[in-house]
Amino acid sequence: MTTLTTLAPQSYEDVQAAICQHGRIFVRGAGSKPALAPPFVDGDDAALLDMRGLRGVVEYEPGEFVFTARAGSSLREIAALLAEHGQYLPFDPPLVDQGATLGGTIAAGLSGSGRHRYGGLRDFLIGVRFVDGQGRLVRGGGKVVKNAAGFDLPKLMIGSLGRLGVIVEASFKVFPQPPAYATLRVTQPSLDAALTTIARLNGSSFDLEAFDLVFEEERPTLYIRQGGFAAALAERQERLRAWLGGGEPLPEPEEAAFWSAGREFAWAPATWALVKTPVTLNVIPALDQALQAAGAQRRYVAGAALAWIAWPGDLGQLDAYLTQLQLGGLALRGEAEWPFVGVRNGASLIARVKRVLDPFHRFPIL
């Protein structure tokens, strides 16, 4: 058995050449989502593209609220550059400290708690360049914040796991970052009470940056983050607290630490599987019952749009639960030959798209 040939492309042409010269292509970034790592394969016509060499910002004009960077760029370097100009990635991608790359974040389709305010990855990715399974360098979208020309190929790349093409460059819309943040911690007597509070907050006109439901010793607890001018923040938080009928403000260092820990999944046991599951409010009671019974840890983030599930055992059981609830998920950590769990729709459309972008089956199935 041979090991997988690893190539480190330095240019888009390198990626094109690698694809044309190999029968099977696997892609990796920083490896921050091990369940999405390429399966171990033998055969000397297979190659693993390590995208970390293809990095760097191509274009960034802060006044445009747009940047373009190569796919292997780390989120950390992007975030640092944006911060110099008071801007940020509003969709709050996870795993920044663990080295996640821009391309890997798109390919996995990941947004974090902060997506609550302005939207997720799909709302901020405005352009991509990728190399398809025939070695063609394809551009979709553009570099302006508003654009309706041609099919929206960037959307196809979101969550495509490197199986429709190898993303080599991406353009994002960005926003000015709130100059200050404040977070309120509100314990809830029960899950039902917490969900009622979430529904109330979702329908309210409070501008919330993020709000997550977590379990502290199995006690449902809401963390509600506000952002904006420092001068107005204390009053806004007090108003929110009064509206909620309680809650304690997190002190400064804890405030940032809480959201950072969430972003890095520091709360999830490292050896457990970690699964992203899109949810809606009404499905959470049934889902949570199953998760609690199985001893899983979980967070419902971004106004309960997204469940992060830390799962102790075999993913087969979680797959069964999610399927029963008509939910689907993506494993980021854990043993998984196939990273998808639960139901998936649009399979026939994906198959049609894949026949166009990967007619020679160079990429793994999707």
């Binding site: 445009e64 508003k146 020309a149 099919f151 899109p278 729709n345 459309l349």
Partner: protein
């Protein structure tokens, strides 16, 4: 193509009053809001149910007949122009809001639901549907989805695609698919997003799950007048550089101000060369803090005058002027073409100067009303189609503006779509390979290229150009172009 086969099958399934065949019945469907193009379909099916739409698409597929789905026909890019001798599937009767769930902030609607009706239905719950094209009183969600419509609030809130969570659609070969869901999140690929903006080429959306937003607690609307368009453009750049994120930033030039004033008496200063509208929105305490900041920036941008909306009525008046500006300018001229290019915001001044020069070179008046916050220009080229050669000159001028947008690193369309109108410019914006990949994707879904044939892609048969006159609905004041 077996048109007779299709028509006889449809006749057997649909009552005669919902299958239009007579010349007089077909006339209103010959064009949409881009009236320069007209084309006569063989028939119009007024579909009453989703099942009828599915059956019609399947029959078109079986008999090889091209079809165009149509809502209110407000497309400014000729997106709902019929295919000559094809079928038009009219969706206006599929106008049910199937579900409105305030706790989850979603509405599930059929494609014929009118844009503003979603916000109206959501209003009692303190919610609204954010995308607000100027035609929102009449345009339908199905058309918004097909063309990824925008509006005045796109910088902060995005376009239609950012508000569509999932959909049920019939693909051009009759397969019915469910894409996305009702969660704000999804596991990829983002097929919902891929479908939105496909200009009808991927089939017909039958049910659409829309995301609703809570209405902002408070607005602050500022109206600043300037001596030049350049100065107004610079003010936009300053606002952006200051770290503020207004919900809307709009600019109108002198011609547009004059027309809007004449039409709706919005109270705009008439002697200004350019007018900037900036609107902040959100929690009152935050908005007040931002407002103080904004006023500093605006004062520093050397305005002639600055006014602030005193109350809701004042705000509504300012927006009424803005939203009616296009139809108002249109009344200054027998005919006009609307462009929809996008330039990087930092190139706005340059773009406007070029448009002004082109206007002089071509001897045609151009009014400018645009979404400055996101660089989306809407130059309105005035001409008289009865004067031989003017339509051609206007089109040539429009083409130069589009090419300028591409050269400045922008896009040929921000929110109107490519449709019929801009398809010849696609090859300037995308390489041959890019277009090839898009064409292959299209054929993977529609091997016969039946769905909205002739749109988006550079090749394709061109219908007859007609030089003169507004659309019947426009003449009635029911639609406007923006």
């Amino acid at each position: 193509m077996n048109l007779d086969g299709l028509l006889s099958e449809l006749e057997r399934r649909v009552p005669a009053d919902r299958l239009l065949r007579k010349s007089a019945q077909l006339a209103p469907y010959e064009s949409d809001a881009l009236t320069a193009f007209r084309s006569r379909p063989a028939a119009v099916l007024l579909a009453a149910t989703q099942e009828e739409v599915i059956q019609a698409v399947r029959l078109c597929h079986r008999y090889g007949v091209p079809f165009v789905a149509r809502g209110s026909g407000t497309s400014l890019s000729g997106g709902s122009l019929p295919v000559e001798n094809g079928l038009v599937i009219a969706l206006n009767r599929l106008n049910r809001i199937l579900r409105l769930d305030p706790a989850q902030r979603i509405a599930v609607v059929e494609p014929g639901v009118i844009n503003l009706d979603v916000s109206r239905a959501a209003a009692p719950h303190g919610l609204y549907y954010a995308p607000d094209p100027s035609s929102q009183l009449i345009c339908t969600i199905g058309g918004n989805v097909a063309f990824n419509s925008g509006g005045a609030h796109c910088l902060k809130y995005g376009m239609t695609v950012n508000h569509v969570l999932g959909l049920k659609a019939v693909l051009p070969d009759g397969e019915v698919v469910q894409l996305g869901g009702e969660s704000l999140e999804q596991v990829g690929p983002d097929l919902t997003g891929f479908f939105v903006g496909s200009e009808g080429l991927f089939g017909v959306a039958l049910e659409i799950a829309l995301r609703l937003l809570p209405k902002p607690e408070c607005y602050r609307t500022v109206l600043a007048a300037y001596d030049s368009l350049q100065a107004a453009g610079d003010a936009v750049a300053s606002v952006v550089a200051s770290g503020l994120l207004p919900g809307a930033m709009e600019i109108m030039d002198a011609l547009a101000i004059e027309a809007a004033e004449a039409a709706v008496q919005a109270g705009y200063p008439r002697d200004a060369a350019a007018l900037l509208i900036v609107e902040l929105e959100g929690e009152r305490i935050q908005v007040e803090a931002e407002f103080a900041h904004l006023m500093q920036v605006i004062e520093g941008s050397n305005p002639k005058t600055v006014a602030v909306a005193k109350d809701d009525a004042d705000r509504a008046r300012i927006w009424k002027g803005r939203k009616s500006a296009f139809s108002a300018v249109g009344r200054l001229s027998p005919d006009y073409l609307v462009q929809d290019g996008v330039v990087p915001r930092s190139r706005l001044g340059e773009a406007l100067a070029t448009i002004e020069r082109l206007s002089q070179d071509y001897g045609l008046r151009v009014a400018n009303v645009f979404h400055a916050g996101d660089g989306n220009l809407h130059p309105l080229i005035l001409f008289n189609g009865r004067i031989p050669g003017e339509l051609e000159r206007a089109e040539a001028l429009a083409g130069e503006i589009i090419q300028m947008c591409i050269a400045l690193g922008g896009s040929i369309t921000g929110e109107h779509g490519v449709g019929m109108e801009k398809r010849q410019h696609m090859s300037s914006m995308f390489t041959e390979t890019n277009l090839q990949v898009m064409a292959e994707l299209r054929r993977a879904l529609d091997p016969g290229e039946l769905a909205n044939r002739g749109k988006m892609f550079p090749q394709g048969e061109a219908p007859a150009l007609h030089a003169h006159g507004p659309h019947p609905l426009e003449a009635q004041g029911l639609i406007s172009r923006m």
